[in-house]
Symmetry: C2
Subunit: 260 residues, 2 copies
């Protein structure tokens, strides 16, 4: 098959056979075990895209709603929106600012800088034997990506990149799209300004959100519902290697925000 | 290789060897020829993602700036933003409303409903032997996708989907991302509401912008600058087949827009 394909194809490969994760689990070890069981190993330059959910789980970011003390602002937000008061409280705690609140909808700027509904807090796919449980984002998804990358690079002896993704909405488009909320080993932006086009003209405005494109591509195999495929490997994609950079450069600076 | 990979991998394959397109060219015929030359053929369910640029070119949407009559509102917009007056004129003609205008920046809602910088008008990769030429979006990208799909389906005798993509910016994130501006054969949204998660809970809010995820994935091989790879085939992705639907359902209805 491969020799019949044009060069530079990109492959998005689900990592299957992963366990249900619990707080404190070693994600890198579990990934290595699952891949080994399939005789499937990373290659240099692979991008591992990991759903935020399992990172949050191993980092102990699940919160039982009935243990949350609800503040007055959260009660008001819950009244405005019809959200569970404890959920409103957690959203406020996770957020820098509430951008829009309407019945059924809370959009905030997360303390990490991302604009997201419900501050990215997720109520699905969280085990809750004793009362409703929700899952907050990792405290520092870039750090989570960095640790996972270091561990996997040491384990496999090659350079790879790690992206932590979640499904985020957009201002003017319906539906969610896989989006990078943490990254390591990849410069999240590919700056093509200064390159020339086919006719030798210098490109003016081509800054490509490569980490977000990688996260979106991974969503084609990462399951949202009962599929339980929280990790994908992207092979063959071009991106700029960066060990220092996290996702921050993808966040539009507040002073350039025209739509808040 | 293939048998060592977990199942359900998605492949993003560039279609190379395409010619430089001119107005009136038969895109479907050119694609078939290029694929034939590589002994590479579509498979049922493949999604063909085509850069807006080449669709616009074959549909004759290139405009010479020096032939544009500039109106008074366009002159004012050019003054505010520092854009070329003819460019400002074309942006106004292509747009329903100007959303933001600042030095160096015009964001509008395109007549087709998409929010984009410069109404999606592109000044790169357009041949201009006699004066500066820019490229407008196809008049009806869904119709372009529909025609291309019908032609390719007849030619190859199988069901495929076609997406027309462009690189669009986002309100709160830097960089552009491949985004669907036309579609045929694929329902642009996958509605997972009502499905259950791993623990049997019903998903509340999982509407996935599948066409946009496919367009973003295609961007990993579609060149922006001198690469000249304007078409990708995505193989193995799951999506809902729809012959009737275009991209419209992906556009958030105006009455639900909280950020204009």
């Amino acid at each position: 098959m491969a020799e019949r394909r044009p060069s530079r194809a990109v492959h998005v490969i689900p990592v299957t056979g992963l366990p249900m994760f619990k707080p404190g689990d070693d994600l890198a070890a579990a990934l290595a075990t699952a891949m080994q069981a399939q005789e499937f190993f990373p290659e240099p330059g692979d991008v591992l895209v990991v759903a935020q959910k399992i990172v949050s789980k191993v980092e102990g970011r699940a919160v039982r709603l009935d243990g949350v003390t609800v503040s007055k602002p959260a009660l008001q937000l819950a009244e405005t929106t019809g959200k569970h008061p404890a959920m409103a409280e957690l959203i406020l705690r996770e957020s820098a600012t509430v951008m829009r609140a309407r019945p059924g909808l809370i959009i905030t700027r997360h303390k990490l800088g991302h604009v997201a509904a419900n501050a990215g807090i997720d109520a699905s796919n969280v085990e809750s034997p004793d009362g409703e449980t929700v899952l907050l984002w990792p405290l520092d998804p870039d750090a989570s990506a960095r640790h996972l990358r270091a561990n996997l690079e040491a384990r496999f002896g090659m350079q790879i990149a790690v992206i932590i993704s979640d499904s985020l909405g957009r201002a003017w488009r319906m539906g969610t799209i896989g989006t990078a909320i943490g990254a390591s080993g990849v410069n999240p932006l590919t700056d093509r300004r200064g390159e020339t086009d086919l006719f030798g003209r210098v490109l003016q405005a081509t800054l490509v959100a490569r980490a977000d494109e990688l996260a979106a591509a991974a969503s084609l195999v990462i399951g949202e519902a009962a599929e339980a495929t929280p990790v994908a490997i992207i092979r063959g994609a071009s991106y700029i290697r960066s060990e220092a950079e996290g996702i921050a450069s993808t966040l539009r600076p507040l002073q350039e925000d025209l739509f808040t």
